[in-house]
Structure formats: structure tokens, C-alpha cells
Symmetry: none
Subunit: 208 residues, 4 copies
DNA sequence: AATGAATGAGAGTTCATTCAT
DNA sequence: GATGAATGAACTCTCATTCAT
């Protein structure tokens, strides 16, 4: 056993600490207004050290994107697909999917990605595939299963999934993107999701 | 009659010309990367002149926002509310509301506003009220009328309107925000709207 | 008559002042060690102003090269070709050609050009054609005329010119390039040239 | 017998390896643009190790200078002074002296020394004494011997030596310093030397 | 009203050097 | 002796803004 593991750990954890700080700064002020000097100062090191870990500001931002894509993916993969009935399942999924897009990190991250995706399509693609796309797939799986069990009318499950997510997210998402009004409370989120579930069941539920 | 009116006209039209150019530049590269030098050069004047019309870059951006809010409002106010039946009305509204958010200027404008709304809530609010909110009101009016005529089940028309718009927009909107895939074609837009109308009618249409 | 001439004059003379200072700095410390900050400070202006006149350090160096090539060319074109006899003519030319390459600006300039010609062949070419090549042509012209008048044996005048210049310059030139010993005095220069003329005449003069 | 000798050898050969790499880098990009990082990377070690062998970049450059001075001296001391006749001897010497100054390492080394001799006269002096001065001494020795044997007219042999070397080198040397035109071929070198020998013999050879 | 030269703070980045391990 | 992480000063260059003309 060499000394390597310890060193590696130190280096890796320092790297992570830098990305931690950089994430905060990027989300606070955006890519352009985030300065390497400020990030270095907040990390408690020198600019030179920053450049020992990341070749450029762009690369540091790349590390940020990578981390938050992984985080998104984790959230999407962790989505509870088990539930007593369709409504409960949709409600659970809807809450997470709305919350993630409308509050805290999730929202600020989306805003940031959207702002930079123009310059670099790779960024947006990575995020879209890790987040929204995966989320929709999870919802679609739930719907498909329910259809197989006769608890939902048949039809394109992916399309239905997107429509459900849309009804959950869109209104508050657009408002938050515009920084319009305060961040929604859990109650508002529940209400929005409940309404979406209701409409969804009216459209896709078993005929009365 | 003084010479003033003519001068005023010149001044106003020059001001407009500056905002024209600035709009292009802001939408092309974003607020941070838009430089006053480049704008001045494209206008064909000097930087000093720019500052004769706008006290700061921020104020010039304010003029941009103002203009595009007015434009959004115009679009929303022009929405055709007359149509032979509910489906046709929703389809027409849905197409416009999706198109505006997913293509060309409308999308780039939304991205830009979203990126800057963090710094200055006033910007996002102005835009949100002129655009999304007004659009939803138009759709709600249509729904309300249809309910009054017994062609849609009763229920909160504003909520229903948001849900309809959501189903039209959300999927492609998020994809475009992430710069994911190419700009949607008219056919794709029609298909998305048609699917939304179908689901909406299944949920809110008169019981079979 | 507009205000333009005055402005142009100001701008041009300021530009010249910058190149003046930059020339000094480049010759003192070389291209790499010359900093834009120092140049700006010595000019008595800000770094920003420097960049209003020259897009980059490289371009400023380009202006330096241009100026000193023009200066070299002027010197070479001004070479006195009229003289009572061949010896006197060669002596006059030799003195100038040796002096220019071995003292003050001329030497420092050559050193600088040589150091940077590797990166950018255009620089070296411009200088070589303006300076050494033109100088040799002047000497060759003198020799040719003397040959026509029967005062020098026939033979390739260009080759003879280069050999004459070589005998004048080479020893002290190499020493100065190496910063070996003090800058030669006028007397040393005269002695070196006199020796070159003597040998040249022994080789190319009319047979005894 | 301690372990020291072996260690010393290792240390010395590692040191040599570093100077090998540093020489390449210095000659490729010059002193200022040679970075310790690049040198360390090419050596295959760390920057820290570099500083175990050389206290500073300047000192490493000193080692480079030392090595190349020794190399120059070797070349000069190896010059063949034996030859069937004066012409042959001069031709042989001239070829080497021209080649060394006009091609490959020799030229790049001269350029480098010239660029840095301004900062540090010691560098230039060391090189000048090891190279040009020693070369001239060798040529002078040949000339002196020939004079003693009556094959050359009497006169200052050192001065004659410098003039001969000058005629060999000067034209192509200045061109190469300016990076003007391609590196001379062996044939061009031979021609230049032959012309120098011819002129030299016309001036210094026995009277017809 | 228009100009454009001047500014100076601050950006991202590099690099010789140090030092704890 | 070797390492490589850390440093901080210095670099080139940009830009919003000001102001005399």
C-alpha cells in the first residue's frame, strides 16, 4: 500500500471542494459574472491553485455541469415507481418533478444551463438527457404498467407522460424562470400536482 | 412651429435604431458578452453617442426588455379568440403559444430574460405579465365562453387554460431551452398541439 | 477645412510617441520582457490607451519593426556613392556599414530582430531586405562603376561587395552580438575599415 | 568503497539528462518562452526535481551555456590545421567555420546567446572566447605557418585570419540571423568558401 | 448632438519558485 | 532525492464609462 491513496483522496476532495464553491458562485451570478478570483478567494486558495485543478474557467464550468447532470440523473433514477395506485404514483412523481424544477438548486441550475446551452450545445444535451428525458421515461414506465393492468386507457405512454409532467411543471416553471413571485411552497406544489393528476385521470383514467 | 418636432423624430428614430441593433446583439451573445463597442460599431456611431441615448448598458438592456415586452403583449392581445368551435379555437391559440416560445426571437428572448431575471426581478416580472400571463388569460377567456355555452364542462377556467398551454409547450420548450435537437418544424408543432387538444377535450369536453 | 487634420496630427503624433517608447523598451529588455504595463507607464498613459492604438503587443512590435526597417532603408539609400577615388568611396561606405551594425540602436535593433525572426520570418525578411541587402547593393554599385572605369579588376561586383562588407563588419559584429568588450570607438572602426580597404584593394585593385 | 560513486553517477547523469532537454527547449523557443514546467515534463520528472538540480531557471540556462561553450571549444580545437597547401587548409577551416555558424544547433545557439548576452555579459564572453576567438586563432596559426614557409605574404596573421573568416561567414550568417531564405546547402557553403579563398589568395598569396 | 480618445479596474491565465511529505 | 500542490506576482487584454472638443 503506497501513500498514493491518501494523496489521491486529498487531491480529489480538494477538487470537489473547488467544484462546490464554483457551483455556488455560478448559480449565484451566472457563468460570465463568476470570476476565477472570487472562486479562488472563497475556496480559500490562490488563483494559481485553481488552475492546477482546472485548465480554464470553461473546464471548471464543465465540472460543474458534469456534477449537476449526475445529480439530476440520480434524482430521476431514484424516482419511486411503486405506489398503491396510479393516482398516488403520479402524485409522488409529479411532486418530485415539479419541486426539482421550481426550487433551489434545481431551478438555478436549469437557468444556468439554459443560459449557456446556446454557446455549447453539449452542455444542454448532457443535462436534458440526464434530467428531463430520464424523468419522462420514469413517468412513462408507470403509465405503461398501469395501462397493462387496465387502470389507464391505452395510448402512447410517452406522450401521456410528457403531458402529465407538463401540467405539473409548466406554469410555475415559467414563472420561476422569470423570477416571478416567490418560490412556491410545498402546499402550492401539492395543489398544482393534484390538479394535474385530476385532469390526467379525467383524460386517461378508466371510463366511468 | 419649431424645429423641435423634426429633431425629436430624428432623435427617436435614432434611439430606435440603437435598440434594434442592441436587440440583435443581446439575443446573439447574451447580456454579458454584448459589448457597447460592438453595438456602437454596428449602429454606425460612436460609443459616446450610445451614452447620449442610454445612461448605461443596463439602461439599454432595459429598453430592449421594454420593447420585447410590448411585442409579447401585442402578440398575446392579437390572439384570435373567435373560432367555429372549441377545438379549432384551442388549436389556433396553442399553435401561436407554442411557436412563440419555441422558435426564433421568442425563444432567444425568453432565454435572455430568464438569464437576467435573477439579477433584476423587475425584468422578469414585466416580461411574465406581458407574455405568459396575458396568453393564459386569453385561453382562459375562450374556455370560459365555451363553458358558458355548455361546450366544456365547468371548472376553473384559468387552471384549465394553464394546463392546456402546458401540454402544448412544456416538452418542446424545455428541449429548446437546453438547445436540445433542432428547432421544431411547423408539423411537429401542429402534432404537439393536436395531442394537447385531444387530451384536453378528453378531460374537459362534454361527457360522451 | 475640418478639424480633422488637427485630430489626425494629434493621433498620429501620439502613436509615434508610443512607438518611441516601445522602441526603447524593446531594445532595452527584448520582446518577451517588455511589458505593456511598463510601456504604458513610460508613455504616461494607461494600458487601455495603448490598446486603442495597437491591437496587441505583437502589433506594437510590428510598428517597431516597420519603423526601424524604414530607418535602415533610409540609411542605406543615403549612402554616399560619390568619392574622389575607390579607396575613399569604400572607406566611407565601410565606416557607415560597420558603425550601423556595431553601435547603439543599429546593433540593439539587429539583436532584437534576430531574436524574434525565428518566430516570425516576415520580420527578419523585412529587415534583411531593407538593411543588409540594400547596403550591399550600394557597395556593389560603387564597385561596378570603378570596374567600368578600369579602377578595379573585373569580376562579380555583388560578390566583391559582400566580401568587402564582411571584412569591415564581421569581427566586431560578432563580438558585439556577444556583448564582448566595449562598444568600438570611432578609431577602432576606422582601423577595421582601413584594413578591409587595404586587403580589398590588394585583391581587386589594378595590378601593379 | 561507499555507495557514493554510484549515486554521484546517477545524479550526474540525471543532471546531464536535464541539460539535454533544457538545451532542446531553449533552442526551440528561446529563454523567455522556455518554461520550467515544460522542461520538467519532457524530462519526465517534476518541477521540484528540477530545482533540486538547479537553483533557478537562470542557473539551468547557465548550464546550457557552459555545455555549448565546451562544445564550441571542442569544435574549434579539433579544426584540422594540417593540409597539403594553404588553399586546402583554408578551405577546410572555412567550411567548418561557416557551417557551424549557419546551420542547425550552431546557429540556434548563437542566436540564443546573442539574445541573452545583453542581460548577462558573462554569457556572451564565455561563448565568444570559446568559439569565434578560438576559431580565429586556429586560422591565424595556419596563416602564420604559411607565412613562415613563404607561401603567404607577411602581415598581421590575426587580422588576415579575421578577414578570411569574415568573407566566409558574414553574408550567410547575417541572412540566417534574420531567418532570411532557407538554410544553405553544402554546395552553397562550398561556393562561399571557395570565393573567400580565391579573394584571400589574391590579396595575400605570393606575388605572381 | 456627436465624437472618439482616455481611463482604470478587473478579467483569465501563466509561471518561477517554495515546501511539506 | 523526488514529488507535486500551493503560491502570488505578473502578464496580455477587455470593457463600461467619462469627457473635452
Amino acid at each position: 500500500m503506497t501513500v498514493e491513496p491518501r494523496t489521491r483522496l486529498d487531491r480529489d476532495s480538494r477538487r470537489e471542494a473547488i467544484v462546490d464553491v464554483a457551483s455556488d458562485v455560478f448559480m449565484e451570478v451566472g457563468y460570465a459574472d463568476a470570476s476565477m478570483s472570487v472562486i479562488a478567494a472563497r475556496v480559500g486558495g490562490s488563483k494559481g491553485t485553481l488552475y492546477n485543478y482546472f485548465r480554464s474557467k470553461e473546464e471548471l464550468f464543465g465540472a460543474y455541469v458534469e456534477r449537476h447532470c449526475a445529480r439530476q440523473q440520480q434524482i430521476m433514477d431514484d424516482l419511486v415507481v411503486q405506489a398503491p395506485d396510479v393516482q398516488a404514483g403520479l402524485t409522488a412523481l409529479g411532486r418530485t418533478l415539479l419541486t426539482v424544477v421550481v426550487t433551489g438548486f434545481g431551478l438555478r441550475n436549469f437557468t444556468l444551463i439554459a443560459a449557456e446551452a446556446g454557446r455549447s450545445p453539449a452542455i444542454g444535451r448532457a443535462f436534458y438527457e440526464a434530467g428531463p428525458q430520464r424523468g419522462a421515461a420514469q413517468v412513462a414506465r408507470l403509465i405503461e404498467r398501469a395501462q397493462a393492468e387496465g387502470r389507464l386507457r391505452s395510448g402512447d405512454p410517452v406522450r401521456a407522460a410528457h403531458q402529465f409532467i407538463a401540467m405539473c411543471q409548466n406554469r410555475l416553471f415559467k414563472a420561476r424562470l422569470c423570477n416571478y413571485g416567490p418560490e412556491p411552497t410545498a402546499a402550492e406544489i401539492d395543489a398544482e400536482v393534484a390538479a394535474a393528476v385530476e385532469t390526467f385521470m379525467a383524460a386517461f383514467g378508466p371510463r366511468a
